[in-house]
């Protein structure tokens, strides 16, 4: 699936988007996999309460299933308007 990063999450991880092959079935499992990769992922995902997640462009939470997801995005709380 595609994993997207926005705002300071993008800056910490150092890229806006990457292809991830994973057996993770929930967002939380995907996060655990990513955190284990490298320090920059660990730094980005250190405080989940500061993060929001969208699966296939719908806001959801970290328990959400991702088995059939095409796109998972991580970002800080939005600041539109």
């Amino acid at each position: 699936m595609d994993v997207l990063y926005f705002a300071w999450v993008r800056e910490r991880i150092g890229l806006p988007k990457e292809r991830v092959d994973t057996n993770a079935t929930t967002v939380a499992e995907l996060v655990a996999e990513l955190r284990a990769r490298e320090d920059r992922y660990e730094a980005a995902f250190a405080d989940l309460s500061a993060l929001r997640v969208a699966v296939d462009q719908d806001l959801t939470d970290f328990d959400a299933p991702i088995t059939n997801a095409r796109e998972v995005a991580f970002f800080p709380p939005m600041t539109g308007g």
Partner: protein, 148 residues
């Protein structure tokens, strides 16, 4: 209903006038415009607005649909820019038309409250001495409770 997500400036006067004209069955039109505010010490060079292409349009349309289903409205407009904006530039606008002013005001406030915290935009202040992501305000999150 009109939803636009764009990097180009929009013509607020023309949009507002176009939205308000041609209704003889709607007595009330409310517009809200968000403007890039400089810092108190005048150090803001640019407000950089990042967004999530694809999701942004969907999220704005969903928020507008929610307003239309919740209040009796004649029309709804949402325009939001992304990219680099200078202080004083307009970031976004919403407009609502309704038979009565209470609905038009409430729906506009609802649109703004949701757009602030639920549409995928992120603001970064490019200052003369650095750059900083704008933090989400607890106050904005709390504003949503009014509608739940």
């Amino acid at each position: 209903m009109k939803i636009a997500v764009q990097s180009e400036p929009f013509d607020f006067g023309a949009e507002a006038a176009g939205f308000a004209s041609g209704h003889d069955d709607q007595g009330a039109v409310v517009t809200f415009t968000g403007i890039v505010r400089n810092t108190a010490d005048g150090t803001l060079k640019q407000m950089r607005i990042e967004h999530y292409p694809g999701m942004t349009e969907k999220a704005l349309a969903a928020i507008a649909e929610q307003a239309l289903s919740r209040w009796s409205l004649g029309d709804v407009l949402v325009i939001h820019r992304f990219g680099d904006l200078a202080p004083g530039e307009m970031i976004m606008m919403v407009a609502t038309a309704a038979r009565h002013r209470k609905n038009a005001f409430e729906a506009a406030e609802f649109l703004m409250d949701y757009l602030k915290s639920r549409a995928p935009f992120w603001k970064k202040e490019i200052l003369s001495n650095g750059a900083e992501w704008v933090a989400a305000k607890e106050e904005d999150e709390n504003s949503l409770k009014r509608w739940q």
